[in-house]
């Protein structure tokens, strides 16, 4: 009883990693992955064992740091939201080629339904793409156990393991009972296969063939894994393949047990052998998976088959968005539960910038200048709290695509003839992916006004430390921006005249201007005041 803990799925992964002998967590914040790293940062074992736990500048540096630790024989964990996988795709794909030495686990947290993201890409695809195993827990206890198993498996097969969570798995709490001893950390030891780590074509060609063979072995492993199994049922008119948390929604609808045979899958590559076993029992298979129809697509061949596959693609299950017990209920042909109709007296309550937020004052001053005197201006923005400048009453930005795109898109538009071309991003976005774009602007002498709305933190994800705090102007100068055109302003209503003057002057300067607009986020300021 004393051992039971109420943990988020994220925290269960974190605790599993700590108990597996972790030496370092490498992460850039992103919903719904942030709490993995925060839990590790707050855990006593982290201090006791000197576990590396600093936030990294972006997901690419995170993945590379962790790979270096794996090379040195230690166990490391990388955490990010799903789109972070795009940023670290290069070292991620590279890590499949080098393989792992010390256990290397990559936790990717997907956000189907886009509660706080720009797309619903499914991280299981990276497993297929890079030829890496993927683990997908379906409850918090399993998240703990699978994380421990993932580190062992990573070392056994010398391969990084992707741990895929989705929003509800990451952000819901349940009881976890830790199992097994707290494992010691690994000693420094170097790879048994040193050639793999130098991916020159001469080595990479050899390794690629090995990896193809290994991938077949990973599928064998998945077919016998304790995380994948078939449970028979009395009704053989249909079978169900339930992946990850989709299994929970299936069982929620059958409190007395599922009548159909079920194949539960939590470890990939998808174990085709088990699917064949299920297909021998039933004529039709319903595929339930959270995210994109990866398994379903694989099972639906081009050529005719004796097994009918139903799922998202034929819209037996809702085509996009996260699954719910209600969607699965409908797919199973069960009647909806009686309830009340949605009220007619409703109004949406979208998020908005906090009252008193510095981004508000920045957008007000920017609008005062652009809307009045520069109607041809375009504002290229980015991802962070400041994206809410799109909403009423500001309507201040024209684009938001992915982290860093503001500074570079502004240049592309400027070279195309847009004037004024304004870029807006936050301090953490700047160090994540804006700095490289700023160097491009300097080298191309672009006619742009690039604004950094610096609130001294990574606010959008809850106020983590920001990598460049205190050094933003120095970084810009170091990248070659003329110091006369690095201007710092303080976003407050009483400063509007000064702010507007600076914005105007820098628009009229035909070269690279950087405006740093700095005032602390009022949420973190409040927290600091309490301390």
């Amino acid at each position: 009883m004393a051992d039971k803990q109420l943990l988020l799925g994220d925290e269960a992964v974190a605790l599993g990693a700590l108990h597996a002998g972790l030496s370092g967590v490498y992460a850039y914040p992103g919903t719904p992955s942030t709490e993995i790293t925060e839990y590790i940062q707050g855990h006593p074992l982290t201090r006791e064992r000197h576990i590396h736990d600093h936030w990294t500048t972006n997901e690419k540096t995170a993945m590379e740091g962790a790979l270096g630790m794996s090379y040195a024989g230690k166990r490391s964990l990388v955490c990010m939201k799903h789109v972070g996988m795009n940023v670290c795709a290069d070292p991620l794909m590279g890590s499949a080629m080098t393989g792992a030495n010390g256990g290397l686990v990559v936790a990717a947290c997907d956000d189907p339904s886009m509660h706080s993201s720009q797309n619903e890409q499914d991280s299981r695809f990276w497993g297929t793409f890079g030829m890496m195993p993927v683990f997908e827990p379906s409850n918090q206890q399993e998240a703990y156990e699978m994380t421990r198993a993932a580190f062992d498996y990573s070392e056994k097969r010398t391969i990084p393991v992707i741990m895929r969570l989705t929003t509800r798995m990451a952000h819901s709490r349940a009881v976890v009972t830790p199992t097994g001893d707290i494992r010691p950390q690994n000693e420094l030891h170097y790879p048994e296969y040193p050639k793999r780590w130098v991916t020159l074509p001469v080595n990479a060609r050899v390794r690629n063939r090995e990896l193809i063979k290994d991938y077949a072995q990973f599928e064998e492993d998945a077919a016998t894994s304790k995380f994948n199994w078939i449970a028979d049922g009395p009704d053989h008119s249909m079978g169900v393949i339930a992946c990850g948390i989709a299994y929970n929604y299936l069982m929620e609808n059958y409190p007395d047990g599922c009548p159909y045979p079920v194949l539960k899958v939590s470890q990939y590559p998808f174990p085709r052998k088990l699917a064949l076993k299920l297909a021998a029992m039933v004529p039709t298979i319903l595929v339930l998976e959270e995210g994109q129809p990866l398994v379903e697509n694989m099972l639906r061949g081009v050529f005719p088959s004796n097994t009918k596959i139903i799922g998202r693609i034929d819209e037996t299950v809702v085509r996009d968005g996260e699954l719910s017990p209600d969607d699965v209920r409908k797919a199973l042909g069960l009647p909806a539960l009686p309830t009340f109709a949605p009220s007619q007296v409703l109004a949406p309550r979208p998020p908005a910038l906090c009252m008193g937020c510095g981004h508000r004052d920045f957008y007000t001053a920017l609008n005062n200048v652009l809307k009045k005197d520069y109607p041809t201006a375009r504002v290229f923005s980015d991802i962070g709290c400041y994206t809410l400048g799109y909403m009423a009453p500001f309507h201040a930005i024209n684009t938001c695509v992915e982290m860093g795109a503001s500074f570079t898109m502004a240049q592309g538009a400027a070279y195309s003839g847009t004037w004024p071309a304004v870029g807006v991003l936050g301090d953490s976005t700047f160090t994540h992916s804006g700095m490289t774009g700023l160097l491009d602007a300097v080298n191309g002498n672009a006619d742009v006004v690039l604004c950094i709305s610096d609130n001294l933190t990574t606010a959008m994800t809850g106020g983590q430390d920001s990598a460049g705090t205190g050094r933003i102007e120095a970084i810009c100068a170091g990248l070659g921006v003329d110091p006369a055109h690095i201007r710092t302003i303080v976003p407050l209503p009483k400063n509007y005249p000064d702010m507007e003057k600076v914005i105007r002057e820098e628009i009229e300067y035909h070269g690279v201007s950087v405006i740093v607009c700095r005032r602390e986020c009022i949420q973190t300021a409040r927290r600091h005041a309490k301390k």
Binding site: S116, R168, M169, S172, A174, I245, Y247, N248, Y249, M251, E252, N253, P255, S324, P325, D326, R329, A336, L337, P338, T339, F340, A341, P342, S343, Q344, V345, L346, A347, P348, R349, P350, P351, A352, L353, C354, C385, L388, A392, Q523
Partner: protein, 153 residues
């Protein structure tokens, strides 16, 4: 995203049997507990036919098109089992305006059934114990006031 004023909800499930889904199905919520009346109304498709709504009556108007209050309360009061109380006023009355959530918890405890209110009082003591006896007592008082006011309804 609550710090930026958007709507926020979370699901809580308690059972002596295994719980599979973290999400509550539509029509299966025994209770909707809300610190804001419009937000209570937002989730009624999740309410079980026998379920209760426990809500604050004080609106939080941070949107331009907040519906008229008589319509909001009218829609709520059309539902069969609603406890609507001015949680803010009760919290102020017992001298701890920051304990509005404890008032609401007290009101909820009055219809919860499966959990002894004393267990919740123990929980309050455990959570606030660190902050000293005075804070613990203020929260217990708010809890009890909420409990009593719901009983009166």
């Amino acid at each position: 995203m609550s710090q930026r004023g958007g709507d926020v909800q979370s699901n809580l499930r308690l059972s002596s049997d295994p719980i599979y889904s973290d999400l509550i199905p539509r029509g299966a919520a025994d209770l909707i507990v809300s610190l804001e009346p419009l937000e209570a109304l937002r989730y009624i498709p999740y309410l079980a036919p026998e379920g209760w709504i426990i809500t604050n009556t004080v609106p939080f108007e941070n949107i331009p098109d907040y519906p008229p209050m008589d319509q909001v309360m009218g829609a709520l009061n059309k539902l069969p089992r609603v406890i609507a109380i001015d949680v803010d006023a009760i919290a102020k009355e017992v001298g701890s305006p920051r304990s509005a959530n404890m008032v609401l918890l007290g009101a909820t405890a009055s219809v919860l059934g499966i959990l002894d209110p004393d267990k919740l009082r123990d929980g309050i003591r455990r959570i606030f114990g660190r902050k000293g006896e005075e804070i613990v007592e203020a929260n217990i008082k708010a809890f009890d006031a909420g409990f009593a006011s719901a009983r009166k309804k």
